[in-house]
């Protein structure tokens, strides 16, 4: 089933981590297998030279049950640092959030695709996101578990998207959890609720163009599809409008960039989405109960219609 949520503040920043935690926890019943957050920090706090990279060096279940996994994770972290040095990436900070989840802050002159490919060539290593404002966190468990584990409630920012997952067509692991980063483009992330029925044909088409897939989760296709459009020079709204025509199935998805939040709904309008808009903020969620967790007063909401695409700026 899955639940998705998004919020964007039009008049400055807010405790976006806490807000998204509340919204996703209110939709825990839509899927407690894993929870993910894509949080965007205040633009005033962004260093134009510096990137933040979130990565994992093992899956959660491997870290708990794997044979010799602790030594392997240490080796993988050393390999990552060695390869970053080879690429002349200047790492200013490495934060080990769990034994398998790390956060790097670095500056880099080279291209991000080359960096991502070289780092992900190490067995068991996956880059969850690279961005200047984006922090992408996902792990097993409900929103409270993940938010507490990664200390997200204190995160200040302008906008965020999130996902609570009921695994149906791929594994319960971090690799298949949402949001997905639109590799290799900085600060682009996607969450999705639904099923794409032309997944394999579209995936093969995109793989032939050189795009990489880390999972067999159909939702990843949307991130890669949008990345492909961005690479062709298309703007966000056009890319999303085209996705409604070209992606087959039933879906509602949210997409975020460094300064905007977008929503697209399939032509059957088969997946839910509730929208609240005001001068101060825009909030969307699979269920209104999620939006209610961040609003103190009575609100007016609506359902976007079939084939509708909307984009809001922070």
């Amino acid at each position: 089933m899955c639940g998705i949520a998004g919020v964007i503040h039009r008049d400055g920043s807010s405790k976006i981590g806490e807000e998204m935690s509340f919204m996703l926890q209110a939709m825990k019943h839509r899927g407690p297998d894993s929870t993910g957050f894509a949080l965007y920090c205040e633009r005033d706090n962004i260093d134009s030279e510096q990137y933040v990279m979130r990565m994992k060096v093992a899956e959660t279940h491997e870290a708990v049950n794997g044979y010799d996994i602790h030594a392997k994770m240490e080796d993988r972290i050393k390999s990552v640092q060695s390869r970053l040095s080879e690429l002349k990436v200047k790492v200013s900070e490495v934060e080990k959030i769990t034994e398998y989840a790390l956060r790097y802050t670095f500056t880099c002159d080279g291209n991000l695709r080359q960096l991502a490919n070289y780092v992900e060539d190490i067995e068991g290593v996956e880059i969850l996101s690279i961005g200047k404002g984006l922090e992408l966190v996902k792990d097993l468990g409900d929103a409270k578990v993940v938010s507490d584990l990664y200390s997200l409630k204190s995160f200040n920012g302008t906008h965020a998207i999130g996902h609570t997952r009921m695994a149906t067509e791929s594994d319960v692991d971090i690799r298949s959890a949402h949001p997905y980063w639109a590799y290799p483009f900085a600060d682009v992330s996607v969450v999705h609720n639904g099923q794409l029925t032309n997944y394999w044909s579209k995936r093969r088409e995109l793989e032939r163009k050189g795009h990489r897939f880390m999972s067999s989760c159909d939702s990843e296709l949307i991130a890669v599809y949008i990345a492909d459009k961005i690479e062709q020079g298309r703007n966000l709204e056009d890319s999303m409008l085209q996705s409604v025509e070209e992606l087959d199935g039933v879906f509602t998805y949210l997409l975020a960039t460094s300064d905007s939040l977008g929503m697209a709904k399939d032509t059957m309008a088969a997946k839910p989405m509730v929208l609240f808009e005001s001068d101060q903020l825009v909030a969307l969620a699979s269920e209104e109960v999620a939006i209610r967790t961040i609003m103190n007063n009575e609100i007016d909401t609506s359902d976007p219609y079939d084939g509708e695409v909307r984009v809001w700026q922070a």
Partner: protein
């Protein structure tokens, strides 16, 4: 292949009784029928002048619905639910006369399986409000989500604002009214009853409808398979005027622009053709 030519002319369509016949015959609650009173043999005797409030802020759905039932057993005929907070499945399965007021918004599957109450919702409702409703009235003052009034069999389900996709899917009787627009596939597989859309209707309106009538005041983005436009009659106009007056929506009614959509009845279920012949017709 004489007689198999596809005709776009609708069959004779006019106002007709909504009483169900044959195996589908059921007894519905009626305010005019004093002898049968509740129709439901297990309905509680209530006094409309006896009122109570439920503050739903710190209650879950099960607790809210249990309190509602408990108040009915004590004979309360007027109940107000405050702070519903868009929680799901509130007010489901009320088989009783009752004046129910909801001061706020409901989540998904609210007010399903109703048989008898008169409900007013001050806010919005989520997906599948009024599903399988048998009788009574529901008036929503703001917007409604998708599958509004799915498989409704009787009563009036009214939303003053916009309504989502698949409004009245599988409608089997009763009346659904949208004061604003409706989404795609409204009236999908409609079987009986009437739907009124005072704003615009989305794509595939009335797709695969078996019977029933849809009135649209605004634009129709597209008609679904086997849905055709028909002439409105004087009885249509009278019914629309009377019904919309009841719910304070008659100001939005423009009889000169109203469009009436019915089933063309060309689909397979209306003939006795062999499967190979059906393909030729369609």
């Amino acid at each position: 292949m004489a007689g198999l030519e596809k005709s776009n002319e609708p069959l004779k369509t006019e106002m007709r009784s909504e009483s169900l016949l044959g195996r589908t015959q059921q007894v519905f609650f009626s305010l005019d029928n004093n002898e049968e009173k509740m129709a439901q043999p297990f309905a509680y005797e209530v006094d409309f002048s006896k009122s109570a409030e439920i503050d739903a802020e710190d209650l879950n759905t099960r607790q809210i619905n249990s309190k509602l039932k408990h108040l009915l057993t004590e004979g309360y005929g007027t109940i107000t639910i405050k702070n519903p907070g868009a929680k799901h499945s509130i007010g489901v399965g009320i088989l009783n006369r009752l004046n129910l007021k909801i001061e706020g918004s409901l989540g998904y599957f609210g007010l399903g399986l109703l048989d008898g109450p008169n409900v007013t919702v001050e806010g919005r409702v989520g997906w599948s409000c009024g599903e399988n409703m048998m009788s009574g009235t529901v008036l929503i003052k703001k917007n409604a989500g998708s599958t509004f009034g799915a498989a409704i069999r009787g009563g009036d389900l009214v939303c003053k604002g916009d309504v989502g996709a698949r409004t009245g899917i599988d409608q089997k009787g009763g009346t659904i009214i949208a004061g604003g627009n409706t989404g795609a596939f409204s009236g999908f597989m409609m079987q009986r009853g009437r739907m009124v859309v005072l704003g615009d209707a989305g794509n595939n309106l009335g797709d695969s409808m078996y019977d029933g009538t849809i009135y649209v005041g605004g634009k129709i983005k597209s008609l679904g398979a086997d849905a055709v436009e028909s002439e409105t009659t004087e009885s249509d106009e009278k019914w629309l005027t009377d019904k919309l007056t009841l719910y304070g929506l008659v100001d939005k009614l423009n009889l000169s622009t109203i469009k009436k959509v019915v089933s063309g009845k060309q689909l397979w279920n209306y003939d006795s053709l062999e499967p190979s012949e059906k393909k030729l017709v369609l």
